[in-house]
Symmetry: C2
Subunit: 118 residues, 2 copies
DNA sequence: CAGCATCCTGTTTGATACTG
DNA sequence: CAGTATCAAACAGGATGCTG
């Protein structure tokens, strides 16, 4: 978490960033939104390089913030499913816009970097 | 910087997040966008808790990425002005949407946290 | 299976002092 | 004024081993 509490006074975007755009949260929300409800190990496989510890931490945080819900099935072996909430999916248009900006402007950024480094 | 290179494979939003939403960048871009061109010390005062070292680092990064431009005026005392670029201001609608989502849903998040902690 | 506990590490951030 | 240099602190992240 980044704790942008001070800057948020001058920037209304900061608290949202803190909430949604800390490390690993976007891939988690993205896959839960597009690939639907998933088990812990499915998430682990989809996000590839994440470790179980960190995945757990992020899921707990997202659950606490109401963006993701967790369902524990008392079976043997145990089964846990994660699902995006309504609040979480209200971010979808935002994500779409962000992805769109990326495809439109990331090449410009790359170009700027090349110029700067030269 | 967060380096979300791996996750970006499964999440097109991640690279944009890396670029725009690392710590301190949103307040900087926000004020440059809304309050216009500013000198180093003006930014320092507006963002309050930021240190000159970190402000410099972030401005350099934003400059390299083409989101901000820097103009050095060779005077005594020296004067430097920072300004958002066209590329940078193309983020404005995104920021507006983010701020809008915040006012609409941040209370829900707060509520979710209260429930969770209980 | 889905985690938690513990330890450990590198990076990021900040405090402080100084300069062209 | 607009930074830079140096040092110290904080924290996120990873490795490993264990369990209901």
């Amino acid at each position: 978490m980044q704790n942008q509490q001070a800057p948020e006074m001058s920037c209304p975007v900061a608290p949202v960033v803190d909430l949604v755009f800390s490390r690993w949260t976007t891939p988690i929300l993205w896959t839960l939104n597009f690939d639907g409800r998933q088990r812990f190990s499915e998430l682990e496989r989809r996000i590839e390089t994440i470790t179980p510890k960190v995945l757990t931490e992020r899921l707990r945080q997202l659950e606490r913030d109401g963006l993701v819900s967790r369902t524990y099935h008392r079976e043997i072996p145990p089964r846990v499913e994660y699902q995006i909430t309504e609040l979480g999916s209200s971010l979808a248009p935002l994500f779409a816009q962000l992805a769109h900006w990326g495809t439109a402007h990331l090449p410009d950024v790359e170009q700027a970097r090349l110029s700067y480094d030269a």
